[in-house]
Amino acid sequence: MRWILGLIGTVFAAVLLLSFLSGITAYFQNPPAPLASDEFHREPKGLHLASDGPFGKFDKQQLQRGFQVYKEVCSACHSMKLVSFRDLKGIGYSDAEVKAIANQWQTEVPSINPDTGEPATRKALPSDTFPAPFANDTAARAGNNNALPPDLSLITKAREGGAAYVYSLLTGFQNEPAELLKKFPDAKTPTGLHYNPYFANLNIAMPPPLTANQVTYADGTPATVDQMAQDVSAFLMWAAEPKLGNRHRWGYVVIIYLLFATGFAYAAYRNIWRNVKH
């Protein structure tokens, strides 16, 4: 049997080594062409948020500013279907404020006319999730040059780099570098797209969404593009992970408990084994 198994192993190894040889031969005979997106794509910039790290917790003031940016800018195109108005109590709004925010939301909630059964809309309630700006994905694409604005509920968990990625993307719009065009003449940003080195393929359908003083912050913070981008990234971090504060708080208690448990259990172990040679 060992001979048969040895033969099988040799055949598998042979297939793999032949794969290796054909792979490197192909590589040297026909080296793969470099891609503009490999050379000019950039990793997200550093972003420091209050929620970072094991001791992080949300800065509610900043989350409220970020929510204002979402409400006044992003929500025109981007849905946030997993978050409810009532969740906003988690960033410091009172019951009455949440009710008012829901009531005044720019998009109404699809409903039916209670008398006729005809499709209708009604004002949002705190128990509703944020109404989507478009009725469906087809409508969203039709309104956005055939690009689908992604739902933002989980965006900071659904992208490599998280909140820092969102921040970098929002502040990363720029002219296409001349060097890129010199090296890759075919890689010119197509009409209707926008160059952004933080986006995976460098060209994003979303136009630069933020301009200075686009929103007027209630707390008087100057609304620079960088500030708004940071605030909305912090808010989207909260939207994706609203229980982060609880999680960290429970975490300390559990870790301290387990430290004591480990210590006592180790002492018990040493005590039980004290006269045993092993």
Binding site: A13, A14, L16, V83, A158, E160, L258, A268, W273, V276
Partner: protein
């Protein structure tokens, strides 16, 4: 079971006696994990990981049952039931889910350490072949369960993972494609696949628990192996499982749970993939489809076959190599015929063992990394070595190697350990005794 000096169960309380006469379940437990199971006294900390695997299986079953109370197995509702209902609205739902997600990873971490401990110390050799093979059955069931569990949130990686993994079957000629369609209940992953994966994901952990009972039963016939690989000879060589190993397992389990809690509470998504927070979309393929980290070495082997040899095409070679890489482990007791169990007394084997560890780590890296010409070439060499290691090198090493002299008994090796510890550096040349000394 096992040894003649195993302490018999002697219930003192009349109620315990009453129960024992009618249903000797306490007697069974006492003999399995109580004072009635004699264990070699020289076990080091690598022997703690079997118990840890049992602990993580329990954590998975408990968190999983509660999660299933809130989960909808529907292609329209699954993603939201996980990411909206459970993560936001269910009391401590976020904790249940993160504990379950990371519990799966930790279950695999401790199981991999448990398997490599078995490989190093020759735990697969006679008379423990069935212990080893039942362990591999558990491992295969774990892989199936973990794969189907990852499909349940119905995110992008869930969907495309299901697409790729069930696609393996279509590599087989003739029966492959009908088999794939039969497994999925359709031409692509859809409601039928999701419902049956949920059903099986709920079932298989209990099958695992059943095979764990057989694994432990088969283990308790010869009793646990030990770092010297020398058989237990008399009572001096052993200690009762309780209180000695319950205490040792107890503090070590608390320490490992501490690490698990750190990840679960402070970096819960570190081991996951961001794409699974995007709802499944059959029309948009992710840039890099990768499985969970514990499948990376096998995924690397699968992707490494790119050459059509004989009448078998590269895809089928990849699938055969991937399944073969696990199935060959079932033959290990007969591949390695060295009479010496422990790698500590096998100087040549030991070197190749560590080379294998490095090889599997490289395969794991390649399996998770994007395909570049360099990664592909590295993976192909590492995959070739994996097969050569088990099917060519190991039989040769076991035939030609001269092992180091074994201690006469476990108790003697324990005394040697002390002598080695107090001896001048360099004189403690016997690796087995060094291992024992460090375990102190």
């Amino acid at each position: 079971m096992s040894f003649s000096w195993a302490r018999p169960y002697e219930p003192k309380h009349p109620v315990a006696r009453w129960i024992d006469e009618r249903l000797p379940l306490p007697r069974l437990v006492y003999g399995a994990i109580g004072g009635g199971y004699p264990v070699p006294r020289n076990l080091n900390y690598w022997w703690n990981f079997g118990v840890l695997a049992g602990i993580f299986l329990t954590i998975q079953i408990v968190t999983g049952i509660v999660l299933a109370m809130h989960y909808f197995a529907s292609i329209d509702g699954a993603f939201n039931s996980v990411n909206q209902l459970i993560m936001r609205d269910v009391s401590a739902g976020w904790l249940l889910r993160y504990a379950h997600m990371n519990g799966a990873s930790f279950f695999f971490i401790v199981t991999y350490i448990h398997i490599f401990r078995g490989l190093y110390y020759g735990s697969y050799k006679a008379p423990r072949e069935l212990v080893w093979m039942l362990g591999l059955v558990i491992y295969l069931l774990m892989m199936a369960t973990a794969f189907m569990g990852y499909v349940l949130p119905w995110g992008q990686m869930s969907y495309w993972g299901a697409q790729v993994i069930t696609g393996f079957f279509s590599a087989f000629p003739m029966v492959g494609e009908p088999l794939r369609i039969w497994i999925l209940g359709g031409y692509a992953p859809d409601q039928a696949a999701l419902t049956r994966f949920f059903s099986l994901h709920y079932l298989l952990p209990f099958v695992i628990a059943g095979v764990v009972v057989l694994h432990i039963w088969a283990l308790h016939i010869p009793g646990s192996s030990n770092p010297t690989g020398v058989d237990v000879k008399d009572e001096k060589d052993t200690l009762p499982f309780h209180p000695f190993y319950t205490a040792k397992d107890g503090w070590f389990a608390a320490a490992v749970l501490l690490v698990y809690a750190l990840v679960t509470y402070f970096a819960p998504n570190y081991l996951g993939h961001p794409d699974n927070y995007i709802p499944a979309n059959p029309l948009a393929t992710p840039a890099h489809i990768v499985p969970e980290w514990y499948f990376w070495p096998f995924y690397a082997i699968l992707r490494s076959c790119t050459f059509n040899l004989f009448w078998i095409d590269a895809k089928l070679w990849g699938v055969l190599a991937m399944f073969g890489s696990i199935l060959l482990l079932f033959f290990l007791p007969w591949i390695d015929r060295s009479p010496v169990r422990s790698g500590a007394y096998r100087p040549v084997f030991k070197r190749f063992f560590w080379l294998l560890v490095v090889d599997v780590v490289i395969l794991g890296y390649v399996g998770g990394a994007p395909i570049t010409p360099f990664n592909a070439a590295l993976g192909q060499l590492a995959a070739a070595y994996y097969f050569l290691h088990f099917l060519v090198i190991l039989p040769l090493v076991s035939a030609f190697e001269t092992p180091l002299p074994l201690p006469n008994s476990i108790s003697e090796s324990v005394l040697h350990g002390e002598a080695a510890e107090s001896a001048p550096a360099g004189q403690a040349s016997r690796p087995g005794s060094v291992a024992v000394a460090t375990a102190e």
